[in-house]
Each structure stands twice: as C-alpha cells, then as structure tokens.
C-alpha cells in the first residue's frame, strides 16, 4: 500500500571517505558489543589509470529487503518485517540465537551476540526515528553520504536524492525464484563488484533436514494414526454402542 511507510537508506558512494564514524555512532547508540558492528564499509580499492584514479568505499548494513530470506527461516517469528515501516527487525526476547537467519542472509548483515544468546542487526535506529530523529549513522555522517527515510514518500530526502541521482544501483539477489529486493540504494558510484555480490542463502542441515525429511515423515505418521482412529470412530458411530460391551 502506498500509504504505508517503506523505510530505506540511500547511500551516496562518491561521498564516503571510509572514516567509519557511522560504525562508532551506531555501536554507541545501540550498545553493540566491542567485537561486533552492525555496519561495515567495503573497500573496493584503487581503480582506473593514473592520473584518473578512483577509490570507492561502500558502506553497508541490513538492506531491509522486501523479501528477506532471514524472515523466511526464523522458526519462532522473532525476526520479522515490520508491516508498518518495512524494517526487518529482531524481537530479541523471542530470539534464541540459533543462527538460521545469520546463515540465510545473502549480505551477512547479521551477527550472533554470544553473550546474550541472540541475533543482532541494524534496526534503522527505530527508537530514534520514531522520536523524529535520524538514525545514528545518518546523523553522524560527515560527508553526507548516508540518507534515511520513507521511500514511499515522494517528498522525503531519500526519494528526492533518488530522483536527482545520476546512477542508481542495488545489490539485488535474484536467483531460484528468490528476489530479495533490497532497500539500500547506492547512488553515484559503481558497487556491482564481485567483492560485494550477495552470496547464496545458506540453509543449515538441521533446518533443511527438518523441512525435507522430518516434517513429511512425522506428518505421514500422524496422518496414518488419524486415519486408523477415524476409521474406528466412524465404525463406532455407525454400529452404535451396547449397554454391556465386552
């Protein structure tokens, strides 16, 4: 629905200087453990021929996909796509930290917080956004590379930036009937490099075995049992009951 919010990021690649202030402010805002971050900056290295050299840095975090493979595999529904704002979030009270989603994410945008036994990721700083502020990474971005807002609202900063952009690219993953349809738009730079290409979603042995072997076997067992019970019950209903049964 057009009236619903669809939060996303627009990142101007030409303005990122790899200062990593976004990583710091994000970690401070969200109490991210010291050995992890929710944002990463990929260094694509120096490209071109002297003197026309280019050095591209690509910041990335959770793409808040329209069709997130991580949500597909979450057993309890702890990971969900918020229907009101489009953000992919983790209810950490419901999460047990099994890591099915970490394996499934084609962007490796999630990590396991071992000390709390949960999965953690970018939340779009929803606590700040709902209070009318920008996400920490956007507020702190000195180069003005990062922008955040409602992609469904044509008046938002992100929509205007996309309208005026010379180039727009996304790290879309489209294969075997799965189209992630990510909500990070990269402008003014070439990010379609092999080092940044999304990987295939990984499905763990436990999860795949459950889906392909255990579930059919158990359902067959329950079905057979139900059939036996149903046959006897029908027979009982037809034949009626005696006062003294033997």
């Amino acid at each position: 629905m057009a009236s619903k919010k669809r939060y996303g990021f627009v990142i101007d690649v030409s303005r990122c200087i790899d200062c990593r202030a976004c990583l710091v402010s994000c970690s401070v805002e969200n109490s991210v453990p010291m050995n992890h971050t929710r944002i990463w900056v990929k260094d694509l290295g120096v490209q071109g021929e002297f003197p026309n050299l280019e050095h591209t840095f690509v910041p990335y975090n959770c793409m808040h996909c329209e069709n997130p493979p991580c949500v597909e595999v979450c057993v309890s529904g702890a990971t969900y796509k918020d229907p009101n704002n489009g953000l992919v979030l983790v209810d950490q009270e419901a999460c047990i930290g099994c890591g099915f989603c970490v394996e499934a994410c084609p962007y490796d945008a999630r990590y396991l917080d071992e000390s709390r036994g949960v999965v953690d990721k970018c939340t779009g700083c929803i606590q700040r956004v709902e209070a009318g502020q920008e996400p920490a990474c956007v507020a702190t971005c000195v180069g003005g590379s990062r922008m955040f807002g409602d992609l469904n609202d044509p008046e938002s900063e992100v929509s205007k930036a996309l309208k005026n952009a010379k180039t727009i690219q996304r790290l879309d993953y489209e294969k075997d009937g799965l189209d992630t349809d990510p909500n990070i738009y990269y402008i003014h730079g070439d990010v379609l490099e092999s080092g940044l290409a999304p990987r295939d979603p990984r499905y763990t042995v436990a999860e795949t075995g459950w889906k392909k072997v255990l579930a059919p076997a158990i359902f067959a067992g329950i079905g057979a049992s139900f059939l036996v019970q149903g046959t006897y019950f029908t027979k009982q209903l037809i034949e009626g009951e005696k006062e003294f049964d033997e």
């Binding site: 309890s76 047990i96 999860e207 049992s225 019970q229 019950f233």
Partner: protein, 277 residues
C-alpha cells in the same frame, strides 16, 4: 483372549462386579498432570513455529495465540515456563518414586515377550480386516501396542525435555545445539502425538476400552475387563489373590493353634490345682 467368550452368565456377573486395582494414586495424578501440561504446551508450541519456509502451522493459529498472549515473546515465555514446571514435576515424581513405582513398573509392565511379538504380527492385520477369526495371544497389564508406545513416549519425553532446556537457556548452549534442538523438539512431539491420537481415542472414546478410561480415575478395572483384555495380568492377579488367601488361612490356623495351646495349658494348670485340692 482365549476362552473368555465361553464363560457362563453367573461367572460373568461375578467377574463384572469384582474390581481389581490396576493403577496407583501416584501414577494417576502424574498422568493427569501430564495431560493438563500437554493441553497447554501443545497448542502454544504449535503456534510458536511460524517459519514460512517450514510452514508447519496454520497462520491463523499463530496469530490467534500471538494476539492472546500479546506478543511472540510472551507466547514463548509462557511455553517454556510451563515446560520447565513440567520437567521439574515429572523428574521429581520419578526420582521420588523411583524404587517404589518406577523400577517395578519398568520391570513388570514394559518388557515385551513372545506373546507380544505375536500380538504385533496379528493385530495390525486384524485392524485391516484380515484373519478376523484368529485369536490374539493373551496380554499383560499393557498390551504389546501400549508397551511399544511407552518407549516412544519415554524417548520422546527425554527428547522434548533436553531440547527444550537447550532452547530455554540460550546463553549457555552453542548455536549448533540450538539449531539441532528445534527439529528434535518438534520431531519428538510429533512422534508422541501420532500415538497420542490412538491413545486418546482408545482410552476415552472406544467402547470396548471404556473401563480403561475410568480406571485412570479410580485406579480399578473389573475382573471381567481384565480377563477379556489382559488375560495374563488377570491370572497373575488371581494367583496373587490365592497366595494371599493361603497366607491368611495359614496365619489363622497358626493363631488358632497357638490359642488352643495356651487354652490347653491353662486348663492343665486348672486341672493340676484341682488335683491338689
């Protein structure tokens, strides 16, 4: 069930009115506690599993329970809090009654013998409508199907408990264990539920087994039911009763002998004093 159909009317009436104890109070209470826990844990557990890729529970069911409890987290907390209580009470009961109830139960009521193997060969075919005239071998306090199912229940319960603990204490166990725990939990429940459908039907609805249902409250079944459905166990009970009768008679005879002896000695005394007079 050889021959119980030829028992005379008088004998049948006698057998119907005579009750034999089958379950003790500890087992009855533990059974109904288990029932109450399953009634709450099974629906909430099914509602938790909402993975679209697995697609194991209907969406309306998931949403119903999430709305009832307010959130996914509350639903899960209810499920594992009750689960921990279930684990605690069942373990407590088994440990407390280990020597008095559990060991005798496992030793006398769960082991399969050759009659049970024969029963397992014949019964499924009879259920399919074949060999209707073939007689079923006599059964113990529990028939071979029940015995077999008891192993499924015990292994399944252990699987549910261990995997449930792994998922509940999420900071203690490594992710790979938490990954395996989820299908193990589901599979154990599924295996038990497959048998549970038959168990509940046979126990509560099937007319021939009506006495079994009431025995889960009173602890008793009629001698007629025992004779017809659990013949070996019935004869075992008859043997025990006869031994008890013999013992009581022996004791009574001993007491009588003792008493008459003491009376005789008293009489002897009286005779001797009379003689002295």
């Amino acid at each position: 069930m050889s021959g119980h159909k030829n028992i005379s009317l008088m004998e049948r009436k006698k057998l119907r009115s005579k009750m034999i104890k089958k379950h003790n109070l500890a087992n009855i209470l533990t059974h109904w506690f288990n029932v109450a826990m399953w009634l709450m844990l099974l629906p909430t557990g099914i509602a938790v599993i909402s993975s679209p890729r697995l697609g194991l529970a209907p969406v309306w069911w998931q949403e119903l329970f999430r709305n009832l409890f307010g959130s996914t987290a509350n639903l899960i907390k209810f499920h594992y809090t009750l689960g921990l209580l279930w684990i605690f009470v069942l373990s407590f009961n088994i440990l407390l009654g280990f020597r008095k109830y559990f060991v005798p139960f496992a030793a006398t009521r769960m082991l399969l013998d050759t009659d049970d193997i024969d029963w397992l060969k014949v019964k499924p075919l009879q259920m399919l409508g074949l060999f209707k005239d073939k007689e079923l071998p006599p059964q113990d306090a529990y028939n071979a199907g029940q015995k077999l199912y008891s192993y499924v229940v015990i292994l399944g319960t252990l699987g549910i408990m261990s995997s449930g603990i792994v998922m509940t204490f999420k900071t203690v166990f490594p992710p790979v264990l938490k990954q395996i725990a989820q299908p193990l939990h589901w599979m154990s429940v599924g295996a038990i539920v497959a048998g549970l459908i038959i168990h509940v039907y046979m126990g509560a609805v099937f007319p021939e087994e009506k006495e079994a249902f009431f025995s889960m409250f009173s602890g008793k079944v009629s001698a007629w039911y025992a004779r017809a459905h659990h013949e070996k166990w019935y004869w075992q009970k008859v043997k025990e009763e006869m031994e008890w009768e013999d013992q009581v008679e022996r004791e009574l005879a001993d007491n009588l002998a003792e008493e008459s002896e003491s009376v005789a000695s008293r009489d002897d005394g009286r005779v001797s004093t009379a003689a002295a007079d």
